[in-house]
């Protein structure tokens, strides 16, 4: 394997990591900062992608589609927060798991009801399509570069919001003691609705952005959801920096594991078996990584120490 290919694969891993972060960003807010286990996060991701596909289909504008994704998912998020989620903050994680599990069912089948069972069309706009040549001769799709930039921007924005602004501080205070922050005069309910909507909007945006290079279909959110949880937990709940680093680690592990493990197994087995066995272990790699990180540091890389 040539050095340039290895370099390219490392870049792919990092890129995949940033994309994971983009998908996990909204969840970081909701799960990491507000402390709510929202299994329906993947559904909001799906809502964004469907809204984008519908608007792109009707208007032909990718930018409008992104706006639509953000708005639709944020509205759906706000609605869900007002009707369901707000009754769950003071409950234990179990109830949150069940309620948001129920929301997945409602969202998935509801979307199918509205949009039918067939995957929808959403593609990269022409001004972002095609590869560019990077130094070293690596050909890299422009759209993916744009995703990296956007992912990093979102990471920075979120980090500033949570750690530097008063709203961010108040949200974290609410996570510690909701009753108390309200008793100090902060309208924490409204704040939580806003933040939930923001998290949902980010999920929707990610759904649209990533949907353009993947498939827009019912159920697209669930695999993402698990990956996003993995990312956040590895990084440490509540830490934006942790989520970013966790995402990069997962991206690298997944990409490089998928490439090198089969190669590694070829050293002791015939190619067909090696490819199959190597890939089998590669698909377990990120979960092994997660378990290893948690065994080593039980609250993730940057989580608050217990």
């Amino acid at each position: 394997m040539s050095p340039i290919l290895i370099a390219e694969q490392v870049l792919n891993g990092l890129q995949f990591g940033v994309m994971l972060f983009l998908m996990a960003a909204g969840l970081t807010l909701i799960f990491g900062v507000m402390g709510l286990i929202n299994l329906a996060h993947g559904s909001l991701y799906m809502v964004g992608a469907f809204a984008a596909a519908a608007v792109a289909g009707a208007t032909g504008s990718f930018l409008l589609a992104l706006v639509a994704a953000l708005v639709a998912a944020a509205l759906a998020g706000a609605l869900v927060e007002l009707v369901v989620i707000r009754r769950l903050y003071h409950r234990d994680h179990l109830d949150q798991v069940l309620a948001t599990f129920a929301l997945i069912l409602i969202f998935s089948e509801g979307t199918r009801w509205l949009f039918g069972s067939f995957p929808l069309y959403l593609d990269i706009p022409s001004w972002l399509s095609g590869p560019v040549t990077l130094p070293g001769g690596i050909q890299y799709p422009l759209y993916r570069l744009a995703l990296i930039a956007l992912g990093l921007l979102v990471a920075l924005g979120l980090w500033l919001l949570i750690s530097r602004t008063r709203i961010g501080i108040q949200i974290r205070a609410g996570e510690n003691d909701r009753e108390m922050i309200a008793a100090l005069g902060v309208d924490i309910s409204k704040l939580y609705t806003l933040i939930f909507a923001l998290g949902a909007g980010l999920a929707g945006l990610a759904g649209a952005l990533v949907g353009a290079i993947q498939s827009v279909q019912v159920g697209m959110g669930e695999p993402v959801l698990i990956l996003a949880f993995v990312v956040i937990v590895i990084g440490g709940i509540g830490s934006i920096r942790g989520a970013l680093i966790g995402a990069l680690l997962v991206g690298l592990t997944d990409t490089l594991g998928g490439i090198f493990l089969p190669e590694l197994f070829k050293l002791f087995a015939d190619p067909a078996t090696a490819t199959a066995t190597g890939s089998a272990f590669a698909s377990m790699a990120i979960y092994i990584l997660m378990a290893a990180v948690l065994v080593w540091r039980p609250t993730g890389l940057f989580g608050a120490r217990a």
């Binding site: 069309y121 353009a212 290079i213 993947q214 490819t275 890939s279």
Partner: protein, 356 residues
């Protein structure tokens, strides 16, 4: 009075396939319009245990005579052996795993669609005939993926630039595309059903790699082509059916399907339609309660298949021509047209293992 139980996927991610099977099947049944035939349809949610439960219900409570409809191989493996063990006919509208074509073949089991490997074999045969010398081949790491690459290799028999198994459900293929680019391959064969194929094709089209792409029909069928869009144009795929197949039955089917459901039929709809017609033709001759006679009537395959010539081999899987299609755009609609025949009168690789 004959009862038929259809178990298929009508909710969740894979619902579009099951819906097409159902719609194709019901089109034939309603056209026929005979009395004394009852069809019961249930959703398996793409879960094997649910499929088994429904099969039990249909057999034990509804007392059906014939089962049909399953889309996925793993669900078929869960249902078919126990259904045939309980003396029920099973007519496959899609899934036809190797085990059931070879050692596990059964007098009560017919596959109307194909044997799972067929369309991959066609792609392999086509690659060879096009003179490709080192294709790069890939499929997800699960049994159907392994069968796929084996099917391709069975008819290709040459050097490969690379052979990889991806993760089932994977959505990002940047790493694989980089490997393809670096491999020096002259063509790419892939089997990535459902959303995986959509993702791969979009990303491949955007990557600047311009090698010709081949695959089985699944990733280029009517149900998902609209979601892939331009990225699929020109891709060659192996299929035993296409909407432009030139025979009377097919023309009638395509027209009737479009008329009734206001969309183009897919491969799965065609299988559903054929299955229903096969069953109706057998019911004209015998009752399912007379197992021997009904089985003989099915095996005779005395119906007008939308695929043209159609016969069953001894393992009760079809002998049929398999074509190569190319993805084209007709007006606003992406669809396929036949560009050649990959293998003629193809049966299946496992027929000798079947002791029937």
């Amino acid at each position: 009075q004959t009862k038929v139980g259809m178990i298929t996927t009508l909710s969740g991610g894979g619902a579009s396939l099951g819906i097409d099977i159902r719609d194709g099947f019901m089109l034939a049944i309603e056209d026929d319009g005979r009395d004394g035939l009852e069809i019961i349809i249930e959703d398996d949610q793409r879960k094997p245990d649910v499929a088994v439960q429904i099969a039990d219900e249909m057999i034990q409570s509804e007392k059906v005579d014939i089962l049909t409809g399953i889309v996925w191989s793993n669900l078929a493996m869960a249902v078919v052996p126990s259904a045939t063990a309980q003396g029920k006919f099973y007519l496959s509208t899609n899934a036809a795993p190797a085990q059931l074509a070879g050692r596990g073949c059964n007098p009560l089991y017919f596959s109307v669609s194909y044997q799972n490997d067929n369309l991959h074999e066609a792609a392999g045969a086509y690659a060879k005939s096009e003179g490709y010398t080192n294709p790069f081949i890939m499929a997800p790491n699960y049994p159907a993926g392994h069968d796929s690459l084996n099917g391709f290799k069975r008819f290709f028999e040459g050097e490969l630039a690379g052979e990889i198994y991806t993760e089932l459900g994977q959505t990002d293929y940047a790493a694989e595309i980089a490997q393809i680019r670096a491999s020096g391959a002259d063509s790419v064969f892939f089997f990535l059903p459902g959303g995986m194929g959509i993702s791969f094709l979009k990303q491949y089209a955007d990557s600047g790699v311009e090698l010709p792409v081949l695959g089985p029909a699944f990733s280029f069928d009517q149900a998902i082509l609209q979601a892939v869009g331009d990225a699929a144009l020109g891709v060659k795929n192996g299929s035993n059916w296409s909407k432009d197949l030139d025979n009377e039955a097919n023309a009638a089917f395509v027209a009737a399907f479009e008329e009734k459901y206001d969309r183009l039929p897919s491969l799965y709809a065609a299988y559903g339609y054929d299955t229903a017609n096969l069953m109706l033709s057998a019911l004209d001759v015998a009752e399912p309660s007379d197992q021997e006679a009904f089985r003989a009537a099915l095996a005779a395959a005395d119906f007008d298949s939308v695929r043209g010539d159609f016969a069953f081999d001894t393992n009760q899987h079809p002998i049929q021509d398999i074509y190569v299609r190319e993805v084209i755009k007709e007006g606003d609609i992406y669809t396929n047209k036949i560009v050649g025949t990959a293998i003629e009168d193809r049966s299946s690789a496992y027929v000798d293992e079947c002791s029937m």
